[in-house]
Amino acid sequence: MEQLTIVGKPVTRVDAEEKVTGEAVYGYDLVLPDMLYGKALFSPKPHARIKRINTEEAKQYPGVVAVITGKDAPWTHGESIKDKPFLAQDKVRYIGEPVAAVAAMDEDTAQAAVRLIEVEYEDLPAYFSPEEACKPGAIPIHENFASYRKFDFIVPGSMPNVCEHFKLRTGDVEKGFREADLVLEERYYVPVIQHAAIEPHSSHAQVDPESGRVTIWVANDAPFRALHEISEALGLSQEKIRFINPLQGGGFGSKGGLKVETIAVALAYHTKGKPVRVKFNREETFISTLTRHEAVIHIKSGVKQDGTLAARQMTLYWGAGAYAEKSPTVCIRGSLPAPGPYRIPHVRVDGYAAYTNKPVAGSFRGYGIPQGAWACEQHMDEIAKKLRMDPVELRLKNIFVDGDLAYWGEQLHSVGLKETLIKATQAIEWGKPPGFPASQLGGEEARRLKPNIKIGKGFACISKPTRTPTTSKAGVLVNSKGEITVLAGTVEIGQGCSTILSQVAAEELKVPLDKVRMAPLDTDMIPFDASTTSSRSTYHMGNAVRRAAIDAREKLMEMARPMLEAKNEELACSNGKVYLKDQPQMALPIGDVVRRKLGNDGIVRGDASYTYEIGKDLDLETGHSDHASAFYMYATQAAEVAVDEETGRVRILRMSAAHDVGKAINPLNCAAQIEGGLAMGIGSALHEEMVIDSQGKVRNPSFLDYHLVTSLDLPEMIPIIVECPEPEGPYGAKGLGEPGLAPTPAAIGNAVADAIGVRICDLPLNPERVYWAIQQKRAKGSSRWLTEVA
């Protein structure tokens, strides 16, 4: 392989300077000329019929331009199921659903006016648990579900409120259980959490009264998908809609789908061509954007005495919240690999995505994998304990390796899982007695003095598929100064794509990195990209940019051929120049090539499109596919924890994270992604939970009570990059964005169980939960502790 010059190097980010000076403009910062200010009124009821809305007083309020309700915005949307109105129609389905909205001359006025809107409700029975919502006899949250437009692959099944039933059928689980020496059954629960990007949500929209063209400025992570969704909802051709992406202050999945966008668009139809901005504050962001799916997970396994897995059955109830959003695909892609990255001959999985009267669940970094892993990986440790086997040994006996036929019918390749398992566990000195890093808790001596502190180690493995099949297109422009502009629809959400894609373009055109810039993201100018989700960008867009850059390079070389008086000689490119391979002194800077051929204003453009060609689609009856994913990401994380038995407080002493990235295009950025994922995973393990009470109200919609980890809450983190190249990936790369947090809670859960000898099946492992688990164990001698779902 050719020597790589920029790919594989830990270069600094191309977008860092504008961010450290405060010059970067985020969605929340954007001011448009003549802009109006929008504000929504949110439902205070979890499930109710709207009997009457009175907007008269609000309309009379000085400075108000428009007051609208669902009647003024008669559209519904939804990525997979068209079930969600722009503003509530006839009924509300969760506390926080937008019911009405105001556009006004300034924010003070909008706020004052929105409070003058009166709404009368009639309460309906509400459901706050996905398991409850789909029990026989439950009343439907969506009465007209059958008539909604849906994706073809959606199989709602017959249970009430279920918007997707995913089935995986491999072998005969009953036979597997009969043949097993040990059968173990457990139930796990993962609560609702939120992405909590530090930038709250906002959207600007404008409708041109003459052309009817709709322009939306929003930091959405999938502008082309959002464009499609708006176009379908409004019944407007896609040419009539334009998305412009300002910078995004953190995404993690929260900024996909349409949330605040629909309010802005609805208002923009009533402002006579003026743009309108709608900003959600932190509380509104908590209650009215997107959350991560809560999940109730039943898992049952049959295992041979030697640790070989014989059968596994799982039933997963995914809490969709009030609207489907991405629930069907979260259900599919989260349920399919939930039995874990293991060879299992008999597998049966039923995943149900069920409506509830809670805030809407959407995509969240990991897309269902963390929930499945929380159950599966702790369950694996319970199996190991029952078999008196080292948990590492149990994994090694069963984990996926190259060439395995996965239980969903796909032959696996490029599987770096085993290496991640070995490296992550070695990094925390697995097998050695619980270490006590000298820097922690005052060293060995302190440990002897503090009998209340118990130390434990644990780890967890995952594999994660990516959204497949999808397409990314890219353009690469070279001007007469030799400067490169990359046109790519990947959104810079903080993950570093602009640096990675710049590296790829610079590598293929053989120019220094500072010659490359990313074009701003505007759907009018930029070629199509499926989405900045599912850890797909480095692979898909990396391939597209690479091919577009090669296309541009070949065009340049073709142009340079007569200039260099080359006949049959081979040309090459390096250091920003095209030259004759045999006579390197015969060289032309690429900018000169462009100028000589096309003049000072000339531009050479390379284009490419990349689609991973899928084999057979997922079979709806068996869940089988020979290519369920373009690539798989593998990871193992391992934790060492100290638990204060008198308080239940868990402190993580150190944590390793080994990730198979295929090829690290930028090792600095990979480490940054892993560390960031770990921090988020640790937060979700120990602290994070949207507390939703029995009336459906979020009780902690603030950063005071929704606990993100601070700089003081994190342990020593050991990121480990494993490179098991993916042949189709650019330079062998896979993806990395999501897996960083996927095994984290399970690894910590296993370490806590190791420390205190009791298995806690519900997240988060906050002090109070751990404390009561320890108390219950002491009282009853029980080594299991479960709580009921609220």
Partner: protein, 305 residues
Amino acid sequence: MKRPEPLEIFQPASVEEASAIVKEKGPGGRFLAGGTDLIIAIKEKGLAPKYVVDLKRVPNLSGIREEADGSLTIRALTTMREVEISPLIRKRFPFLAQSAAEVGSIQIRNRATVGGNMANATPSADVAPSLLVLEARAKIASAGGERVLSLEEFFHGPGQTAMLPEEILTAIVIPPTHPKLVGEYIKFSPREMMDLAYVGVAIALVLNGKEKRCESVRIALGAVSPTPMRARKAEAVIEKQIFTEELAEKAGEEAAKECKPISDVRSSAEYRRAMVGTMTKRALLNAAAQRPGPVPWVERRERRY
């Protein structure tokens, strides 16, 4: 959550003037010190004051001073950060500096004032238990004159104090203390920083001789009753006794019995009660073992465990 609404702001130059404004304008106004409670109450708790009286332009309302008799005056507008880093407080009452350091972030502590914090009477206020065990007094002034109350009498309930609307808390006075007094404050919360106390425990202890006989002990609890409270039954367990770990544990049990916690989104009453027991014991042991002088943050953190 909402944005602040239009309001009138007054910036008096004296306590008398401030008090007179409130008398004249009547109900619906609020005093403003650092604003870190008031602005949040406006944004999150539906408070909509018609006017605010900003006290920051009143001269001589901030600063820490040691009086000739050994008492210590902390004027009302002294910030939490000033208490946290004051050499005087760190020397004499390191646990008081520590309790100030537990409030929010440095940014918050640069604005939040001791007086504002006391006047808002939040049950979880971190410095309140430390001031209670020092038997601090509240100096209150108005156009009509001045009066002094013990801090215990000062707190009436969540957000409720003994002050009349036109009265202003001008200073906290810590009376002279025993030269051998040692103390401790432990804040118990899930994260290392930035949380409200789930439980706060302050101790002031005087131990005598090699046998460690307890000449006096004061225990105060935060976040587990409508006001920060003294745990007198727990104190009685130790008072005049020879200090031992067993006694500390018994005192903890007693404190757990006498506190009156509620259940909320942060934790259950039962858990808070249990943590009062554990933290009281730990705080007593820490206090008894303590060297005088300031302690780096890392060590303070370790003391929670």
